[in-house]
């Protein structure tokens, strides 16, 4: 039952993030919703890595493939790193927008339309 609880928590975070992404127009809150989605994905990956097995079992296992059981954790670390880099870049852009256009609403950024 533990895996199910973790996955339901992850699904709830994901749908809250989707909701925030669709309704809010403030850039920073949109970014926060995006972070929630990233977080839920990492959570579900780590939960799967800990609680599910999808390979044939044998008593004699090579060291590499035995350690490779933890590949899900590595995947989580990579996702966290990319999300952190993306947030740094996006917040620099928010700073520039706030200085030059004096707006942080997504609806006001429509120069490319015409």
């Amino acid at each position: 039952m533990t895996l199910e609880i973790i996955l339901i928590f992850s699904a709830a975070l994901f749908s809250i993030g989707i909701f925030g992404l669709l309704t809010r127009k403030n850039i920073v809150i949109t970014l926060m919703s995006l972070e929630l989605i990233f977080n839920s994905v990492v959570l579900s990956i780590v939960g799967f890595n800990r609680f599910t097995m999808n390979f044939s079992l044998s008593n004699e296992i090579a060291l590499d493939s035995f350690f490779a059981i933890l590949s899900g954790n590595i995947m989580g670390i990579f996702i966290i790193c990319v999300a952190a880099g993306e947030t740094a870049l996006a917040l620099a852009m928010v700073l520039a927008l706030g200085k030059f256009k004096s707006t942080v609403e997504l609806d006001d950024l429509s120069e490319m339309k015409n």
Partner: protein, 215 residues
């Protein structure tokens, strides 16, 4: 013991879901950043509870220590950012709430309806021992020895199970199998940091010249 873990995870999940809802409902962006930190913390607690200690530490360092603080920092730097416009109840609000609720319901139905291939139910006793209790590494053949009761391996160093002590396997994986990926991630982060420094530097210089036309 498993039931205790389940109850703990349910409580932590409720706190996490409540703070995440607070983030998307809040009009004050600074408060939303603080609630986001609480939500990240609950995810880190779940990581610690399911034996992913390294990832929990990374979560606390990167998300709570860097991302939330960066969010709060940018809120304080930009003037109009303090209060965000609240979402108005209209056709868009209703459509997006219905669609996100639908996503949640479908995900929950799939999660509860699937028969997951659980690690707790492994039949192979030796393998189970290697995952959760102890194992020994045979350095010559690059194998692991799991059936410790039958072999007498007193001269080899005993290690805790793979999930109980995951730091050494993760470090070994990062430095062998995933080495190229690690270098690539480092390059991506350097590119992101240089890009954000360039954008911020241009912003400050253009502001000093009084040129507010273009970015």
């Amino acid at each position: 013991m498993d039931n205790l873990l389940d109850i703990f995870l349910v409580i932590v999940s409720i706190v996490g879901i409540a703070s995440a809802s607070y983030v998307v409902a809040q009009t004050n962006v600074f408060r939303a950043a603080l609630a986001l930190a609480v939500s990240f913390m609950t995810v880190a607690v779940v990581f610690f509870a399911i034996n992913a200690e390294f990832l929990g530490a990374v979560q606390i360092l990167v998300y709570i220590g860097a991302v939330s603080v960066l969010m709060a920092f940018s809120v304080l730097l930009v003037k109009d950012l303090q209060t965000a416009s609240s979402s108005t109840v209209g056709i868009r609000f209703i459509l997006s709430s219905v669609s996100s609720l639908l996503i949640f319901v479908v995900l929950v139905l799939v999660i509860l309806g699937t028969d997951w291939n659980k690690t707790n139910q492994i039949d192979n006793e030796d393998f189970r021992q290697a995952l959760f209790e102890k194992y020994v590494i045979d350095e010559e053949n690059k194998m692991i020895i799991t059936n410790l009761d039958k072999n007498d391996n007193t001269n080899l160093d005993l290690r805790k199970g793979l999930f109980n002590d995951s730091i050494i396997p993760i470090g070994s994986l990062l430095s062998t199998k995933y080495f190229i990926s690690l270098q690539l991630i480092g390059m991506i982060i350097v590119a992101c940091v240089i890009g954000s420094i360039a954008i911020t530097k241009n912003t400050i210089e253009n502001e000093d010249e009084g040129d507010k036309e273009t970015i």
